[in-house]
């Protein structure tokens, strides 16, 4: 029996992934989003801290079908032999489950996402507060439903706060896709796949500082302007939701 599973034969998924789904009529100004949201309406966010008990801090985030768990370990000894450093180090890793995407993936580490997560968080953490040690931020995307990176970043900052790591501010992240003439906020995978351009802002809402800005694809200057405004507005709202999530835990403890 075991030998049969040991050498896995070539398999294929029966779902037609090769030929694309019919494009939505983007020329129309009033097309409807796949989950019938408004263009400027984010998916409802469900956030919870303390999802993983052995971690120093952890958080679970669910934005529509995008489901993410982030654990924070440390400050602890760095496993990599590195030079002495006065400031602490941040180590990030993002991975996907094999069933996160419609077609079964390898479930491997996402190097580029890990580095983007690192860059987005680095600016918000007071690294001087834990010299010589390392804080590990590990993220697992349970299910990918679009806007994965912004959700991972927001969830990670919540987990860092839960772990009691000193931060300048919470980090909230939101992305916008440009589909035809329209801007759609917090896009789902389907919208991401046929977008002409995407913009992601990671910011610290109460300090009004941007830690990361990524612009891809085709944009006109006024559109970028609109998209940034839209993102910053959504970030400050998301920041409030994250803050209240942290406060709820404390008030629950007091009661």
């Amino acid at each position: 029996m075991a030998s049969k599973t040991g050498s896995t034969p070539a398999t294929y998924s029966p779902s037609p992934a090769t030929h694309k789904k019919k494009r939505i009529p983007i020329a129309d100004v009033d097309w409807v989003r796949p989950d019938s949201r408004g263009f400027y309406q984010c998916r409802p966010a469900y956030l919870r801290t303390g999802a993983v008990s052995p971690a120093a801090g952890s958080a679970y985030a669910e934005f529509g079908n995008t489901k993410v768990i982030v654990s924070v370990f440390g400050p602890r000894e760095s496993k990599k032999a590195m030079m002495y450093s006065d400031t602490g180090r941040l180590n990030c890793d993002v991975s996907y489950t094999t069933f996160a995407t419609p077609n079964r993936g390898k479930g491997s580490d996402k190097k580029e996402l890990s580095s983007m997560l690192h860059k987005a968080l680095e600016g918000a953490i007071i690294l001087e507060s834990f010299p010589k040690t390392c804080v590990d931020v590990f993220a697992l995307v349970l299910e990918s439903g679009g806007s994965d990176l912004p959700v991972v970043i927001s969830c990670a900052s919540l987990a860092l706060a839960d772990a009691g790591i000193l931060l300048y501010d919470l980090v909230a992240s939101v992305s916008v896709s440009c589909v035809g003439k329209n801007l759609v906020i917090d896009p789902v995978s389907e919208e991401e796949s046929y977008s002409d351009g995407s913009l992601m802002i990671t910011c610290m809402p109460s300090r009004n500082q941007v830690t990361q800005l990524i612009v891809d694809g085709e944009w006109s200057t006024p559109k970028i302007h609109d998209a940034m405004k839209l993102c910053l507005g959504a970030c400050s709202k998301l920041g409030e939701v994250m803050r209240s999530c942290l406060k709820d835990v404390v008030t629950d403890l007091k009661e």
Binding site: A2, T5, D93, T98, R104, L140, L142
Partner: protein, 303 residues
Amino acid sequence: MAAANGSSELYSEMEVDAFRRLFPLRYHEQHLLKSVRTDARKLGSARDTTLALGAVASADGSALAKIGSTTMLAAIKMEVMTPTVECPDEGSIAIEFHMPPICSPLVRPGRPAEAASVISKQLSDTILSSGMIDLKELCLVGGKAAWMAYLDIYCLDADGSLFDAALLSAVAAFSHLNIPVVSLNEDGRIVLVSEDNVQLKLEKQPVNSEKRKLKLKSPPFSLTCLLHKNYILADPTAEEESIMETVVTVVLDSSYQLVSLYKPGGPVLAHTSVIQDCVALARRRMKELHSVLNEAISDMEVD
């Protein structure tokens, strides 16, 4: 031990938390003397167990199992393969157990945990040898196409008794599995019958419209027990497992037949009577787990 005895005065006035950290074994043994565990459980009782079916929308079958704070997420994806020449009318099941770095401070990215591959092997041996699933049911077109069920189990929170939780989530994922309806196209490939496809090409008959659910024949359930001196601790936590190292895992199927039994070494040599006690505990636990599974299934049907 000599040092510990000499410092008896020291630890009489030590805070409980500090004592627990400095003398973990003594701390646990003092509890065991009073027939109670550090989390106020009795020696033979397991932690609260919950099960939620259909946790992952992108999978064909999925389940989230929690035993205490140990959390497992299992999901099945169905793909099509050409069956082997030896068994032309059988599908196949590939089981993999993952311990991502989020689940425990001991796992680091890039290096898969040793425990993960051990549990992976145990799980596939247990599930395939229990006869729970008839591989013939996974056949689509004899000799041409059959299902390959990819079962992936992720440990989201590792707090002891990983195998038990993983097996429970795996069994639950199989009971939640909805096999997609597929048909054979002109090229001899199996394609999904989606809703708009049905209207377009009615001449294509689905291959498996009547076989949407797998029949599970007496699913297996397991209980891990920790042996320490004369004590048997059912369903140990990660802390207990790290301090007292001998474990016995008993897997029974729903008709009380022994499927497998693991005792991977450890300092305690188990007497046959101890093994019998473990099996008795596993029998009791099997009933609990079976009702947890049935409840989860009936909850699903109500929705």
